[in-house]
Structure formats: C-alpha cells, structure tokens
C-alpha cells in the first residue's frame, strides 16, 4: 500500500464519539435529537449526513425523522427505476425505440389480460418478421438506424390481433409518431397502463406517485433515446415512497449508503449501525478479503466528516438469518482507546 498516515495543520476539534443505544429505536431517537441540537448550534441540515452500510438500516430512523418533521433525502440502495411499475412504463418506451427489444415486448404483452407466455411468443415472432417498408429489401426493423419516418410506418403494420392485444398496438401506433414528445408519449401510455396498475397492485396509489415522478422526468427530454439511456445509466436514486420532500429552503438532511457518499464531505457525520453483524455484514465475515473491504468502507465513512464524527450502534438486534442476537460494536471500532474515541451511552 502507498498509504501514509493522514494529518492536518488545522488545530483543535473534538474527539469522535461512540454512542451505544439499548435498541434500534433509541438509536434513531438519539440521532434525531442530536441533529436538532446541532441545527440549533448553527449547523445547517445540508451540512449533516447519516451514513450506513446497507440501505435498509435507516428505515426506523426515517420514521423518526418524519415524526420530527426533519426533511431528508436518501441516496443509494434501492432504486426508483427498479420498481416493477416503473419498469413496466420503461418497457413501452423501449419497444418504441428498439422494436427488436424482445425482453420489453415480453413484459408488456404479459401485462395484457388473457395473454400468457405462449401468445406472447407468437406475437413476438410476428413482430420480428415485420419489415420496415421503404427500407432495404432485407432490412429488418431498425437497420439503417431506423429513421423515425421508417419507424412510424413500421408501426402501421400491426392490425389484426385480438382486441386486447390490438389495444396495445393502437396506443403504440399513436405515440410512435415522431411529432409526439416523450412526455406526451408517456402520458398516453400511462392512460393505457393505469387500469393494469390498479388490478395488479394493492398499493397502486403509492405507485401512481412514482409514475407521476416518472412523468415529470420525461418532460426534460426531447427524444426517447436519451431518456432511456439516462434512466438505464444514471437513474434517479430514490423512489418517491422513500423520500420526504425537501423543505422550502431546500434544506435537507442527507441519508446515504457509504458507497454513495464517496468523495463527499459534511460538517457533521453520523455512522449508524456500527454493529458487528451489520457492519461488517454477517455475510462478509467468513472471508478476510471481504472484511478488509468492509474496513475500507468504515474508513471512507469516517473520513467524510469535517468537524464532528459520531458513530452509533444499537444493542439487542435480532438477526433472523442466523437466529443470533447482535450486541457487540463493530470490530473496526471495538476496543479503540478512549483517547481516540469517546464512549457514550443513550439512556
């Protein structure tokens, strides 16, 4: 390793703290109260971050933050784009862009009432056989870069299917026109998709909000191609379900996985769930290499802090997978002297 010990010419600064709480909820309440106290001292919410090893570790805290009316944004972990309903919407746009995208065809055909895998396969076979009129004699769809006029002509060919399937093609035919902007395409498709959303998901109201957010995102785009690329490569991080909308002054607290916090810095940083079995994870402890990667993660987490670093862990966490009760602080901080890390307990 090239590693050198870190030093600074900055003077002063208080000791990092290691705070143990009797249980998860006490840890959450501690963090909420400490955040509010720091804010009173003049540290804006934007200068504070709560970091954790895995995305699910902040769920309880999120509830307490909401109760305390503290706006936050969560980064990392679960992605909005990975939710089934958003993937459905994306699939419609994908076949518009690339009519050979069999994966998406399959998805949207199976959403139709009365269409099973066999029917879907038949329709797809048929789709793949259709050619673009006016394109090269043997050119399958898309070849020759699938210019937009060719593509809209292409969509005119789908006419004699059973009512349910035909409905899908009629929508696609309509929105495939190059003159229809991505946001309008999305809107039309959403009208078509809505009844399926309702029958498929009990929590369709919540999901509907995600789709509204999706609709908003599409407004920013001129063409479906770049919309799809951005969604695939740089998806918006959070599902609306997980986000408290930021307050009016754009003041919000950051909740983030450590992976998503890399390169960044805050005045005050909390590392929660520094609990053996959670950080390092249960799964990693079998392998030295993996434990070392977890250690580097802890190093990344701690080095995000400018002025205050507070590490917390709850005791008495039941781990379902192993049937064990987790009680010990993370091995990465266990036994570190009080001259480096000041022990605290929440009561």
């Amino acid at each position: 390793m090239y590693y050198k010990e870190l030093y600074t010419h900055k003077s002063g600064g208080s000791l990092p703290q290691l705070v143990s709480a009797e249980n998860e909820n006490m840890q959450s309440r501690y963090v909420v109260q400490k955040v509010l106290a720091l804010r009173e001292e003049g540290v804006p919410l934007k200068e504070m971050a709560i970091l954790f090893r895995s995305s699910f570790l902040s769920f309880d805290l999120e509830i307490e933050l909401t109760k305390a009316n503290i706006p936050f944004m969560k980064f990392g972990g679960f992605k909005f784009i990975e939710t089934a309903h958003v993937k459905d919407m994306v699939a419609y746009l994908r076949v518009l862009e690339n009519p050979r995208d069999v994966v998406s065809w399959n998805r949207i055909l199976l959403l139709i009432d009365g269409v099973g895998p066999r029917t879907a396969e038949k329709v797809i076979d048929d789709i793949l056989k259709k050619r673009v009129r006016g394109a090269e004699p043997d050119g399958l769809v898309g070849e020759g870069a699938g210019s937009s006029t060719d593509l809209s002509r292409y969509w005119m060919q789908f006419n004699d299917y059973s009512d349910n399937v035909q409905k899908l093609f009629d929508v696609l035919k309509h929105v495939a026109k190059p003159s229809v902007a991505p946001a309008e395409k999305t809107y039309q498709i959403l009208q078509y998709y809505e009844p399926m959303l309702k029958t498929r998901y009990d929590d369709h109201q919540k999901r509907r909000k995600d789709l509204e957010m999706f609709q908003n995102i599409t407004e920013r785009y001129q063409d479906v191609g770049s919309l799809l690329t951005d969604l695939a490569l740089e998806p918006p991080n959070e599902s609306i379900v997980d986000v408290e909308s930021p307050g009016p002054e754009d003041e919000y607290l950051t909740l983030s996985t450590i992976h998503s916090a890399k390169g960044l810095e805050w005045h005050s940083v909390f590392v929660i769930y520094a609990l053996e079995g959670r950080f390092p994870t249960m799964r990693s402890v079998g392998s030295d290499e993996e434990v070392e990667e977890e250690r580097r993660l802890m190093y990344v987490a701690c080095t995000r802090a400018k002025e205050n670093l507070i590490i917390t862990y709850p005791m008495n966490i039941y781990d379902r997978e192993s049937g064990m009760i987790l009680t010990k602080p993370s091995r990465f901080i266990q036994g570190i002297g009080e001259h480096l890390l000041e022990p605290w307990v929440v009561e």
């Binding site: 390793m1 090239y2 590693y3 050198k4 870190l6 030093y7 600074t8 010419h9 900055k10 003077s11 600064g13 208080s14 000791l15 990092p16 784009i81 990975e82 862009e97 690339n98 050979r100 995208d101 069999v102 994966v103 998406s104 399959n106 898309g142 870069a145 699938g146 191609g225 799809l228 690329t229 695939a232 490569l233 740089e234 450590i258 992976h259 890399k262 390169g263 030295d288 290499e289 993996e290 434990v291 070392e292 990667e293 250690r295 580097r296 993660l297 802890m298 190093y299 990344v300 701690c302 080095t303 802090a305 400018k306 002025e307 670093l309 990465f332 901080i333 570190i336 480096l340 890390l341």
Partner: protein
C-alpha cells in the same frame, strides 16, 4: 531568393501562455504538490493520496488550467464514478474560471462508452438505437436461453440465471477465464464449463440479434471497438487529448483498458485515487490498476499529497487507527 521556412507550431499553442496572464492564482490556491500536478499537463500522471488531501480539487483546477492554456474544452475528458460527481467537478471548475469548463467531455465510464457506441454501433453489428438491459432483464434473457437449450431439464444440476449472470459479468470485468472462476466459487459446476460457455455464446448472439446490450457490454464493446478498429481508435485518441480519471481505485480492468487505448497516441492521462478507499472490489474493481499504473506507463510522474484539508486531527487519528488495525 531568400527562404522563410514555416515552423511547425504546436497545435494547441499550449506553452505560449505565460503564467502571469492566467486568470487564476494557481500557486496561491494550491499546495506545492497539487500545483505541480495541475501545471504539468503532458504525459502520464498518477496522483495517489489519502482521503481529503485535495485529489478531486486538483482535477478541478487542472481542468481550469487546461482551458486557460487554450485547450479545446471538448478534448478534455473527465471520467468518474457517477455523473453527479462529474457534473459537480465541471460546475466547480466553471465557478473557478468560466462556463467553458462545462463543455468538457465527462461522465461515467458507462455513459461515455454509451455515447461512443451509439456513434459506431454499425462497426460492431449493432444499430444506433440499441436498448440497455438492466441486471434483472439480463438474467431473464439468460434464463430464456438456458431453457431453450434444455439445461433446465438435464439430470445434472445447472447453475441458475443469477449465478450465470454473476459468472459472466465477473469473467468480463476481471478478465478472468471462466474455468478459474468456476474453480474458485462454483467448483461443483466445473465439469459443465463447456455448457456454461455455450449459454454465454448464445446470450451474446441473442443480444446482437435483438439490438440489446447489458451494462457490461457497454464497456466490453467499447474495448472491442477500440481494439479492432485502428482508425476509430486514432480518431478518438485525437479527440480526447487530456484524459483524467477520479477514484481510479474503483475501476476494473476493462475500464483501465479503455483508458489505455484512448490515450495511446498522446499518453496525456492522469489517474487519481486512494488504495485505502477501494470499496467496489465485489464488482470487480481492483487496486491493481492503481498499483500497476507506474509499470503500465513507465515514465509516469507520481504525485503524493500528504496534507488533509478536510477533517480535524482527532477525526484523522481515528481513521488512521481503523486502517492500522487491519490484519
């Protein structure tokens, strides 16, 4: 008759700008090691340094410095781990200097590769409007092929789609032969190596046939394009004259290959990282990229930054202690 012989002027007129004509006081804003890294613009550079020592800040100032020297913004290429991070660096450089810094080429390896591949898709047997499969889509396709090839009904247990995807992805990202990975992680499937390989071949064909790429394809096809196609490689190397990569400790071998190929003409490449912060090796990133950079580019200048500008000493003491206790 007297003759006047025209001199061959350097294309970028780089060294024609005098330091006193620069808008920004680079010397005042940076410490000597950072200043050195910002102002020596030609040839390979490796900045290796701990957290908070100003690595990213050095890149930001270097972008601004290059632009001040008259380098065309689009020929500066800045690659990093998220587009957000790339935008943030461009934004900071723009505040520092001016909006020209927003016009540099930048983004993640994947988004950069995507842009290039849209343009040259035809060279690889793809159309420009290919769509991108996410991991679950990719697994579904693999599953379909697995079923079609009747591996779901053989007497012998065959790896599931998740395991297959994981295997293929790691083969590509770590450039490890399938056999080796099998021996390491799935020894009970070792005998079926040929079949596993066959499913992969069919998977690759299927994607091409349907104009689909998965995430790994973006990088792999980019390398393929650069390797196979000498003229394209030359065009791109001419286009991206100054390449910088932040968080280099979290790149994988394919990404290192992309960088090497792109820089082949000019070798103006600066990579920046901290081996103690490598946190993506579960996805195939490897600190060997950073460690072997000096061998790969024998004449590279190594810059070490030692002073932390971010945290108080008590925080750094704890961070040092955490690393020191490593086994």
């Amino acid at each position: 008759m007297k003759k006047f012989t025209l001199k061959q002027l350097p294309t970028d007129h780089l060294h024609l700008v005098q330091p006193q004509h620069l808008k920004i006081d680079y010397k005042g804003e940076l410490n000597p090691a950072q200043y050195e890294a910002v102002t020596s613009v030609d040839g390979p550079h490796l900045i290796i340094a701990g957290a908070g020592t100003g690595k990213t800040r050095t890149i930001v100032f270097r972008v601004s410095y290059l632009i001040e020297l008259g380098v065309k913004p689009s020929s500066v290429l800045l690659l990093t781990f998220t587009r957000k991070a790339a935008f943030e660096m461009m934004r900071r450089a723009s505040i520092l200097l001016d909006s020209r810094c927003e016009q540099i080429s930048g983004g993640t390896f994947h988004s950069f590769a995507n842009g290039i591949l849209r343009k040259y898709a035809g060279q690889l047997g793809y159309d420009a409007n290919f769509t991108i499969l996410d991991q679950t889509d990719a697994e579904d396709v693999i599953n379909l092929i697995r079923t079609r090839m009747k591996f779901d009904t053989k007497e012998r247990r065959f790896p599931r789609k998740e395991a297959l995807y994981d295997l293929y992805s790691r083969c590509l990202n770590t450039l490890t032969p399938l056999k080796e990975l099998l021996a390491l992680d799935y020894p009970n499937y070792l005998e079926q190596e040929a079949d596993i390989q066959a499913v992969h071949t069919a998977y690759v064909q299927y994607k091409k046939q349907h104009n689909l790429m998965d995430y790994d394809d973006l990088l792999v096809n980019m390398v393929l394009l650069l390797k196979q196609n000498e003229p394209v490689r030359a065009v791109l190397s001419d286009k991206y004259k100054y390449i910088m990569v932040d968080e280099y400790q979290d790149t994988n071998k394919v990404q290192a290959e992309v960088v090497k190929l792109l820089a082949f003409k000019h070798r103006n490449i600066m990579v920046v990282g901290d081996d103690a912060q490598c946190i993506y090796s579960f996805r195939g990133s490897t600190i060997r990229n950073i460690m072997e950079f000096p061998q790969e580019f024998a004449d590279c200048k190594i810059v070490k930054l030692e002073e932390n500008f971010r945290s108080t000493q008590p925080i750094l003491n704890l961070a040092n202690e955490i690393l020191k206790r490593s086994v």
